[in-house]
Symmetry: C2
Subunit: 354 residues, 2 copies
DNA sequence: GCTAATCTCTGTATCGATACAGACTGGATC
DNA sequence: GATCCAGTCTGTATCGATACAGAGATTAGC
């Protein structure tokens, strides 16, 4: 059994409080006594104040939770998520706080329990899919949080950092529309919960539940509506998961249909890269000249020559953590919109004359 | 103020223990009472048992620490580290445990304090640089840990997962030696602590303190010793940090020297990619035909056509976490050596005839 | 020489839960 | 009818520290 504070106190012949002060408030006791105490502690093998007991008494933990509303292992395969994490890490580093990555079990009840049980002072919620339930649990616990998806029901005290999804999506779609494309497919992750890979028919974009996906698809649709192509004329493709494989599966057979789309607008770079993968797999003579766009501008996008919308990934993570760790006095400053930029590369070109 | 267990107990008119049981040991009370209690809790806004208090009483936390003996933000920029994290994440996911990423402040004392204060049940130590002090603190706390660097002083109870660094390095160096290269540079991260980027002279490989780096350099040297090139004839290059930039800085001017090396063996893919960057920056007519090898086989290596040694990154992380979470009964099973494989790609070729 | 201020250190209450031994009920067993 | 048992619930001790008010001792000021 490891010795406790009490053991050290007994050994030195002082009170527990004094030993505690030796560690946490050196100015509360004489330097000489402090040295005696620390020496005795070393001698006894006392490992320093127990972090859990300390947290309980102090009322805070010294770590923030990062919640991916999806498999945790997914987070590390998504380059955008990794850079987000890097940003959170940089902020915690400066602040002397740790980050707790909380994996969510597949079952809802277990997942709730996981969020309830996380020993943290607050959460950065990286919104992948439906996350309302998680935010509910966090609110219930009375913990502060910062989310990355815009929400209508945000309380005045709830912090947010993100981009204008709709406007950003509009910018890349307008670029594609400007190139003359009119037969266009929109590809997104989890357009509807649990929908299979491939085409999907929705009466309108408002049926898409996930706010980020909704914003991006709406932005795409806006740009085409401006050139006279309305929602019903767009091909909507669902990818069950934000992965290259899912994207490739979603576009399977797409280009062999009569009057195939001449452009695919993807809701993320990862999906767009998956479309490029699918195209690259076709025999060299049978590659339709499809324009493809992504979203995020992850490092791989540049290498692949992908036209996309850049959003500052690390900054998003950094600011999320900072909003959490140093809440701004002015609540209005708790809503941060980051800039985005259209990045045109080789993956988009003029629509073929039909 | 959030209500406590006691408040719920009072509201329902039962004892604290019973409320506790309602959450943690449902079999200890009747289903009906349990429902009444949970209802009352909902009504009062009780967020469930306080994680910190629970941890204190139970004696464990439910999360494991991941320690990078370097800047935490570095970890997310290193593709190998990211995949290691993915592996750890996958294991914790299955085990219902969280992972705490502990950033280490630059100052030693603060860094010690950070490890002392981390509320975790054990550590996966991803060894980047000197980490003995960290292991000392962990031992002192009496916590289990798994490290990824081989250590001579490992206690019988101390777990480890890694590769045979020396043999793996030998395999790629032997490949290069077999191609006829005799003027060779070895490039590694932090060969000596705080050494600047560039050439470095050491009387022998045993002066290298970091065990991983030592193993790899020794393996490189072994292979060249076998073909009659001894340590003193090898150019040793230091990169201060495992980054492409650091590598590029380390090889600056190298190829403009008289009798420049015809091959560069790097201690990691990231460094090797940095060497390729440096070569690519030279005017097209002035690119010496240098063979370059890496180590790890990160995803980017394939795209760059880099000859390297593959080691299973995610598996390393996964096994590290599993060794920690489910310690094998047989202590011998606590030392896992993973397989490696030489991967020959386009970045190596026959030595130019001089 | 007396009050005030400062510096150290102590003692008690508290953070919010869980473990464990035991008390009580009601039915089954022989 | 006594015994045993399983099923429920309670009460107390405990996990390991920190906060805070206040007690002595010392020094300072006038």
């Amino acid at each position: 059994m490891k010795p406790t504070l009490q053991a050290v106190a007994d050994a030195v012949g002082v009170s527990r409080s004094t030993v505690s002060n030796a560690y946490s408030r050196p100015d509360q006791l004489s330097a000489a006594l402090r040295e005696r105490i620390l020496d005795a502690a070393r001698q006894l093998g006392y490992p320093g104040p127990n972090p859990t007991a300390r947290s309980l008494r102090r009322g805070f933990v010294g770590s923030i939770g990062v919640l991916f509303t999806s498999q945790l292992s997914y987070a590390f395969t998504d380059p955008f998520a990794v850079r987000f994490l890097a940003g959170v890490g940089a902020a915690t580093e400066r602040h002397g706080t740790s980050m707790l990555l909380v994996p969510l079990p597949p079952a809802q009840t277990d997942a709730r329990r996981a969020v309830e049980n996380a020993a943290v002072d607050g959460f950065c919620v990286y919104c992948v899919a439906d996350e309302e339930w998680a935010l509910d649990v966090i609110r219930q616990r009375g913990l502060p949080f910062v989310s990355t998806a815009p929400r209508d029901d945000a309380g005045p005290d709830e912090r947010f950092v993100g981009i204008d999804e709709r406007a950003a999506a509009h910018s890349v779609a307008a670029h594609v529309a400007g190139l003359g494309h009119r037969r266009v497919a929109l590809l997104a992750d989890s357009v509807l919960l649990d929908a299979p890979a491939g085409p999907l028919t929705l009466s309108g974009v408002d049926q898409v539940p996930h706010p980020t996906t909704h914003g991006r698809l709406a932005g795409f649709a806006d740009a085409f509506a401006e050139v006279g192509v309305d929602w019903a004329e767009l091909t909507l493709l669902n990818a069950p998961g934000n992965s290259r494989q899912a994207a490739a599966a979603a576009v399977a057979g797409l280009f062999d249909r009569p009057a195939p789309p001449t452009a695919v607008l993807a809701g993320s770079d990862v999906l767009a890269l998956g479309v490029l993968d699918a195209l690259a797999e076709r025999p060299a003579g049978d590659r339709p000249p499809v324009s493809v766009t992504g979203f995020d501008d992850v490092p791989e996008a540049a290498a692949a020559g992908l036209t996309t919308v850049r959003q500052p990934a690390e900054e998003k993570g950094r600011i999320a953590a900072e909003l959490l760790l140093d809440p701004p006095a002015d609540p209005a400053a708790g809503h941060v919109l980051l800039p985005t930029a259209l990045v045109v590369r080789a993956s988009t070109g003029p629509a073929p004359r039909s």
